[in-house]
């Protein structure tokens, strides 16, 4: 009987304690991730390089076609060039579409790579929550204010673990 009372008392007290006690929270502020995460830095550089390469290739291919088109548009040109003009316009449009498709592919690969980073960050946050027996992990965007020097700030830990686990990301373009 006394053990039953003891168990009930323990249960009541623990319920009271968990219901109203202040909770332990962790906060991550990864707003400067593009400067702090090596994988993001390399990704940004690669995306930029690829977009520039696509743009350059497009400009090089289109330049002679545009120049020819300009010549054909000069006054005094006969109507027999209409077919050539139409053909040039079609070629330019096709090149534009090709460049656009290539850029979209880079964009999609970038999104995929960013999602990988997001997943890694979520995993690290979950680990830290478990390690520190915290009740919740909040993102800085969810707060109106947070004390950056508080022990609850896990940003540095996230960057360290993320850089160790995912030092570089490679774009996989289909």
């Amino acid at each position: 009987m006394k053990w039953l009372i003891f168990a009930l008392l323990s249960f009541a007290f623990s319920a009271l304690a968990t219901g109203n006690a202040p909770k332990s929270i962790l906060i991550s502020d990864t707003r400067d991730a593009f400067e702090r995460v090596s994988a993001l830095k390399s990704l940004l550089l690669e995306v930029d390089t690829r977009i520039q390469t696509i743009q350059k290739a497009y400009e090089q291919e289109v330049a002679p076609l545009t120049a020819e088109l300009e010549q054909l548009r000069k006054p005094g040109q006969t109507g027999q060039n209409q077919q050539r003009k139409a053909s040039l316009l079609l070629q330019i449009a096709a090149l534009q579409k090709q460049a656009s498709v290539q850029q979209q592919a880079v964009g999609a690969a970038n999104e995929k790579a960013l999602a990988q980073i997001d997943i890694a960050v979520l995993a690290i946050e979950a680990e830290l929550k478990k390690e520190r027996a915290a009740d919740a992990v909040l993102r800085v965007q969810e707060t109106l204010y947070f004390n950056a020097s508080c022990a609850c700030n896990i940003t540095e830990e996230i960057y360290q673990r993320l850089n160790a686990r995912l030092p570089k990301l490679v774009l996989s373009i289909k």
Binding site: K2, I5, F6, L9, S10, F13, S14, A17, N20, A21, P22, K23, S24, I25, I27, R132, A133, D135, A136, L138, E142, T143, L144, Y145, F146, N147, C150, A151, C152
Partner: protein, 137 residues
């Protein structure tokens, strides 16, 4: 009697262990600030709204809800307050030694309990923005 004493001792032990556990659990001081509630409590916001209504009535002879032009002008007049809000919240959080300030919806989402400082924030905001005036369109 002995049994009762034993039981009380055990109960005291449970409470001590529980308290010790909650002390070891690094809890954070959480404050709650409700933006909507702050604006509703602010006397400066109320004054600016009244000034806007009066200005509309004077100019257009129309009472009641603000038209689009005056609503926009009121929003512009309130922008100073909204810009100052994060600083006011930070000041109150620092003064109270709080680690985090949350909107009630976020606190609810994470089942966090905190001290509601909406009234204090509204008061501090009113002091800071006491010179704000409605900027007529």
């Amino acid at each position: 009697m002995n049994r009762l004493q034993m039981l009380l001792k055990k109960a005291a032990l449970v409470i001590c262990v529980g308290l010790l556990g909650s002390l070891c659990h690094a809890a954070n001081l959480v404050l709650i600030a409700d933006s909507a509630n702050i604006e509703a409590r602010s006397t400066v916001v109320a004054r600016l709204k009244a000034e806007a209504s009066a200005a509309q009535l004077k100019k257009t002879n129309k009472a009641g809800p603000l038209n689009a032009e005056y609503t926009e002008a009121l929003e512009l007049s309130l922008s100073d307050l909204r810009v100052a809000l994060p600083e006011v919240i930070e000041g109150i959080a620092k003064a109270k030694g709080a680690d985090v300030v949350l909107e009630p919806s976020i606190a609810k989402k994470f089942a966090l309990v905190g001290v509601d400082v909406s009234a204090e924030v509204a008061q501090a905001l009113d002091i800071r923005a006491s010179k704000s005036r409605f900027l007529a369109p």
